[in-house]
Symmetry: C2
Subunit: 299 residues, 2 copies
């Protein structure tokens, strides 16, 4: 497996391909009646994602000379968790979204029961991948990955954030509350993606802290840009339903700061994110470009 390219677009495309190939290998279609389940898992996890979290795992791992064969497994586990969360969030009982990545969302392509089960199975698979000796030779590292992913996706982070998001629809959140919600819902998994690379590579504590600080600002910039795109983007470009937040009467960074204010805030967070990377020199160029990408992307 070659090194990731030195610019963000190339590196991200490579990360997406690597993770897809790895999951394609893991998610072989069985003969029996579980075929439908694995089929749905493949639909959710193999196609069309932006590969942003896999990129973060692989690009951070590369800073510490982690074997790509190990990093790709962690990236695949993170992608499983991300895709399971999208499948469940899109369900009629939750955000009720029929469109995802420009295609019918999982429960529209299959059915609700299959979407729930495929999500459950993807979440479970993530931990199976991390626990496997192929992920890292040091068992303490593998356990830290399992614990870290569980914390980033559990009640005090991703799932808790989604619960807050649903409960908060129609209620007035201030900037601090909205930042906290997004930090749980999307920020924690982004932070884990970056921290995982440092963990795999035995980074020093100060390096890990710098990367986590980068991830926190990056996650906020990402979410602010998402809110801007929900207002300015078209569904066909976004690949998901535009204008959904306003329709759902959700507090967003745009509703709090205005469109121009949100854009400025996103730029500031992206600049802050980059500033945390100073000690990593040219090796961190793709991560710096990623911060610019999240605020200038069209979908």
């Amino acid at each position: 497996m070659a090194e990731l390219g030195a610019d963000f677009p190339t590196a991200r495309a490579q990360a997406t391909d690597l993770v897809r190939a790895h999951l394609d290998d893991i998610l072989r279609l069985p003969e029996g009646g579980e075929k439908r389940l694995v089929d749905a898992m493949r639909y959710a996890a193999l196609d069309g994602g932006k590969g942003f979290r896999p990129f973060l795992v692989l690009a951070t791992s590369q800073l510490f000379d982690v074997a790509p064969s190990q990093a790709v497994r962690v990236a695949a586990a993170v992608e499983c968790v991300h895709c399971y969360s999208l499948a469940h969030d899109d369900l009629p009982a939750m955000d009720d979204d029929d469109l995802r990545r420009g295609r019918p969302s999982l429960h529209k392509a299959y059915d609700e029961a299959t979407a729930i089960l495929a999500g459950d199975a993807l979440l479970t698979l993530a931990f199976e991948i991390l626990a496997d000796p192929a992920t890292h030779t040091d068992s303490e590292v593998r356990l830290s990955l399992v614990a870290g992913l569980a914390q980033a996706s559990g009640k005090a982070a991703m799932v808790g954030g989604q619960m807050l998001d649903i409960s908060a629809s129609g209620s007035a959140l201030d900037y601090g509350e909205l930042s906290r919600l997004q930090g749980m819902k999307t920020g924690a998994l982004i932070e884990f993606s970056v921290a995982a690379g440092a963990l795999l590579g035995g980074a020093e504590a100060a390096q890990t802290e710098a990367l986590k600080a980068y991830a926190r600002d990056l996650g906020l910039a990402f979410q602010i840009a998402d809110d801007v795109l929900d207002v300015t983007g078209a569904s066909e470009v976004l690949g998901k339903t535009a204008g959904k937040d306003r329709e759902d009467d959700k507090a967003t960074f745009v509703s709090l700061l205005g469109l121009e204010g949100a854009r400025q805030e996103g730029e500031q967070k992206a600049a802050q994110a980059e500033a945390h990377l100073s000690e990593f020199g040219a090796a961190a160029t793709p991560l710096r470009q990623a911060a610019q990408f999240v605020i200038h992307r069209k979908n």
Copy 2:
């Protein structure tokens, strides 16, 4: 923490109490908006279960002098997975069951979104519990537990079995197909519960194999009895909707073997289960009684 009682009813009641106390401790109610989520997790995991899987973990652990403070954590993780699976299986898109353990099922007591998220969070919590150093001092043991639980609950086992079960409604399964389905859907987690005790205690391979063979027969006896109870039991005693299998046109051991044939098959499996315990002597009395319990229980 005292030893489990030497008879099954006492040991099971103790196992239930111990796991409940442990989960009560873990699932503290937060101040913020996630309160509803944690509340729902507590509703699903703390109340009213038969405690059969926790009993199996604790009783098997005791055969190998495992510290009860470690065994109870694994039992709690297994209970989280079991309760998440019930919460998701009861959803309208799946088995659509409004009654569980004599109370409204989770999505009736809360709502569908909360039931999906609480299930997701319980599954995630299970892996967080297992990865924690408090579960076992040896990191290889903790990793084997994580991998074992992931395999027992994933696409090739519990979730796959539920997918098969849904897909198979109305279709004719033979005995082998139904046994395989139930082995995946309920058997794998029962087998893990027993194997976990052996793993925690560093059992010899032959002992682990004997216990797994016990668990496989026990799991089948358990499921056969479930099918018998679905026909002969009343909803108020079962604590869940009786007659549901026939209503759903599901293949069951009763539809395949007849009521009397299913009863006999259950007794045979329970006897086989007990036979695998011969080498463990009197220490395995609660496990032997458990095999009798599963076929003679009223709910």
